[in-house]
Symmetry: C2
Subunit: 208 residues, 2 copies
Amino acid sequence: MKNEISQATIGRLPLYFRTLNFAEKDGMDIISSDEFGRRLDITPEQIRKDLASFGQFGKKGVGYYVSELKNRIGNILGLENHWNFAIVGVGHLGSALANYKNFITLGFNLVALFDTDKSVVGTTINGIKVQGIDVLKEVVAERKIQIAIITVPVSEAQNVTDLLIESEVRGIWNFSPIKLSVPKPMYIVNEDLSIGLSSLSYHLARLD
Amino acid sequence: MKNEISQATIGRLPLYFRTLNFAEKDGMDIISSDEFGRRLDITPEQIRKDLASFGQFGKKGVGYYVSELKNRIGNILGLENHWNFAIVGVGHLGSALANYKNFITLGFNLVALFDTDKSVVGTTINGIKVQGIDVLKEVVAERKIQIAIITVPVSEAQNVTDLLIESEVRGIWNFSPIKLSVPKPMYIVNEDLSIGLSSLSYHLARLD
């Protein structure tokens, strides 16, 4: 079953999780696929199709059980691991991510920040002290950091990646605009912020 | 034909465009789907399938003509419009995006920055002076700004959106963690940075 979930569906699961989380906080027990779709701007058909691919969570004519479905999606996404993560590179983007509230909503724990810039090391962001990259390996082991976010300039990205490969980090989320590779069993997601703007351009060009 | 391109394919087109752009700068005339796939970590089959959906650009047993394919993808993405865009909210994330080089590679022009914070208005980021949000409407008209990126706190996001709706902006890329809606024919992409981290979590949970 695990391998049958498409990348596109996986990409929508965090949205489903967050929407269910809000619905749960609103005191909703059940949510219809229509209401679910309305909150997300996704068609109810798409939602039903996505959710059908990993089990039966709805009651025909009633809707989805909010808490049950939320927990199941969290489970599929592995959120119950409450991953510890670190950010390497606390320039503007790194600082923005260090303050991003949705990571906490999803159960991720930011436990360390690293930078090479001596004028930044020792400062505090979101209650966490920035440490030098020279102590990265030992801090990763000590704080059991499983995920690292790379937000360093391209020129430093490979060095940082090599350091992370040597450490006990298991996954990397790379924002440097360079495709980095890691050996198995590590896993890397190369982020590309220009996709959103290009997607917007695609649609605007068709609205003329 | 236009409507046959899936969202997932559209999401990969900017990656194809950028890879072809680099290949062109490297002096390559032709790129094989194997090499193309290797550079992107996407299977050659996927690439062939994506590209087949909007025309014939390859020569069997040879590869794709780099410049021709790059131009065609740029055309599909509407990049030849060289959209003028502005960033509203120059905190950490806004500042990071204002310095993001890939937008320029794709042909987007950053022409204005706005903020409500008086201590920020008048400062310069990436050569552009930050202006007060009170002049947004007139600057949008004057500078022919077609796209706005919203990187303000949730509490300000709706106000900013209302202002943008009143102005002549056509598209919004929203990074505030709140789902914003706009009336047609405007178009909005609501960005969710937690998707990358969740996708990483999904894969790590399966590597155990």
